[in-house]
Amino acid sequence: MSSPSAVNSSVARRFEIDPLSAALGLVAIASLVFLPFIVVKTSRIASGVSRQLIDALPFGAALAVGTVLAVLAAFTAFTASVRLRLCAALAGLVLCALTVARAADALTPVGNRIVRISPGFGFWVLLIAFGLIATNALTRFRLAPSRRVLVLALAVALLYAAFAGGVFDALSIMREYAVNADRFAREARQHVLLVLASLAPAVIVGVPIGILCHRVPRVRGAILQTLNLIQTIPSIALFGILMVPLAAIAAAYPLAAELGVHGIGAAPAVIALFLYALLPVVANTSVGLGRVSPSTVEAARGMGMTNRQVLWQVEFALALPVILTGIRIVLVQNIGLVTIAALIGGGGFGTFVFQGIGQTAIDLVLLGAIPTVALAFSCAVVLDALVDTMMRTPP
């Protein structure tokens, strides 16, 4: 039998609106009305002319789309049903994307490859607002880890299909992509390689150092403080610091130079990222091991496990979720930081970013920045799911 108060609270919940979604929904409506939806430039580096949604499409279509988007935004703001809010936000996302693609198509004179049509500030605000409402609603469902990865895979597949199908081809970013398609694939591979080349050694070196910190508390403070200090060095400065010794090594040992060790390029970038990655790995390993209950370790020893068995089968196994959390931090952090590597010729998506800045071609900047963000986000979702799967016991 349920108590009256339980009934009341469930009734109350049905009429409850989510304050975050309400705020985001209102922001979405405001941006529809006041912010430019699209920017038209006569050429790649010309300054653009902003257009409201109403001027971006034929009047009837613009009015219809604008009304639907406003209704969806208002609905997400005030509905109490998480399921409906999610559906409306997803519908809003898809409609925004299709509208901007359609507007780009409509505003591009046939055969003109010089004019550039890019999404305006209002579009981005709409996209972010609907995106946040959708992810916020998704987290309410507390999906199982495997389901979260499935949702991500679906979203990626859908986006891939849209890009492959040429839905967004008229947009300026895709124009930049079309010009740079070969380099894009190469820089993407380079970006991932740089991330992995710094992450793997960081794990291989960091985990044993973390174990050392746990076993020998005397060295713990010194090691963590050193790693903390490294974190505070700006990446550009670190590149500079590494440049001199690496150049010297390359000059002294031709073999090293052949293997790719130079004062600039990938080598200093990988080393710098490796150094930044050490702190989260070492700290989380040491914290994770420290959280294992002493009585569990005592029992393991008392039953005749060797020191190595105690370490791997008990301590490490129990600390694994925390260690993986550290690796997740490093992975996401490195995906972002690798962008800087382009400054010293390390390659990666950063190449487009810095080239775009140099040419004041914002579309080129976005061509580097958006995939970086998408990659970091996807990796975060996958690793979070992995950590949750590892947590076989409640925290």
């Binding site: 209950s293 008392g302 039953m303 496990m305 060797t306 008990v314 196994a317 129990l318 076989r392």
Partner: protein, 317 residues
């Protein structure tokens, strides 16, 4: 048979265990009792070499434990600690199978042994084998902890305050289970506790420790009737020592032959032979009866008991 010879443990200038010598009979349940800091846990942990002694030696069945690598020695000795120490990331079955797996048993044999132990500890294998420790009650966790220690059929079981975290009712049940298992398998048990009642209830021999030394190592009755040291009588308590003494003697041992065959209600209640004299006395006081009839477990008469007869057992002789 465990021989402990002038075993000493020092940490810097502090002597935690000070020249302890004692021998523990095979198949006995020996309790080491003392206040906290008396060195009782350290003494226990030196038996399975979780702590290396500063000097002295321990031999089990004639073999000096110093000659065996510690981890191999421990696989042959069951070990139970307070708060069970179960592996939170492993299922009940995996926990119980730990030592057999370390010893390289075949998987089928491990599984059969796990099922057997779960049944002995009244846990349905179907239901409990796949559960994780956090899904069990405190009493169940403790039982799994003991089952895990017994998995590889050790001849010796060391228990460090094994029931300390349990509430009184579950603790009494766990103590009964331990006595039952010890009778059934003939395991030699060495148990450390600070609880005098537990020591008297479980121990066939009790060692009283204080400041690293064993003050007295004797049968429980002798600790009460002939304490060797003022500390021993302080620890055992003087206020209710007569009743404690009665609780150590069973009705069967104290029964006087005769009169039982024609037991009637007028002669008082009928009591089982394994009931303690303390419980019989309480029963008689409660009923206002002067005597009781004692019967064996199979129903055959074992004799009678009078209040006077019982009281005579509550005096040091």
């Amino acid at each position: 048979m465990i021989e402990i010879e002038s075993l000493t443990k020092q940490y810097g200038a502090t002597t935690v265990v000070d020249g302890v010598s004692m021998s523990i009979e095979s198949g006995s349940l020996t309790v080491i009792v003392g206040t906290s800091g008396s060195g009782k846990s350290t003494l226990l942990r030196m038996i399975n070499k979780l702590i290396e002694p500063t000097s002295g030696r321990v031999s089990i069945d004639g073999r000096d434990t110093a000659t065996t690598p510690a981890y191999l020695l421990r696989r042959k000795i069951g070990y139970v600690i307070q708060g069970h120490g179960l592996f939170p990331h492993r299922t009940v079955a995996e926990n119980i199978g730990t030592v057999p797996k370390l010893l390289g048993w075949e998987r089928a044999r491990v599984r059969a042994r796990v099922d057997e132990l779960l049944k002995i500890f009244q846990l349905d294998p179907q239901e409990y084998a796949g559960k994780f420790p956090y899904q069990l009650s405190g009493g169940q966790q403790q039982r799994v902890g003991v089952a895990r220690a017994l998995a590889a059929e050790p001849a010796l079981l060391l228990m460090d305050e094994p029931f300390g975290a349990l509430d009184p009712i579950i603790r009494a049940k766990a103590q009964d289970d331990l006595l039952e298992i010890q009778r059934r398998f003939g395991t030699t048990v060495v148990l450390v506790t600070h609880d005098m009642d537990e020591a008297f209830r479980l121990g066939s021999r009790v060692a009283v420790m204080d400041r690293g030394r064993v003050l007295q190592y004797d049968r429980p009755t002798l600790l009460l009737t002939h304490p060797s040291d003022p500390f021993v009588s302080r620890l055992t308590g003087t206020a209710d020592r007569a009743l404690r003494l009665l609780s150590l003697i069973s009705a069967g041992e104290a029964a006087v032959p005769g009169g039982a065959a024609e037991a009637t209600a007028a002669e008082g209640p009928t009591v089982q032979a394994d009931t303690s004299l303390r419980d019989v006395l309480c029963d008689l006081l409660w009923r206002g009866a002067a005597s009781a009839v004692v019967v064996n477990a199979d129903g055959t008469p074992a004799g009678r008991l009078t209040v006077g007869g019982i009281l005579a057992h509550g005096r040091p002789d």
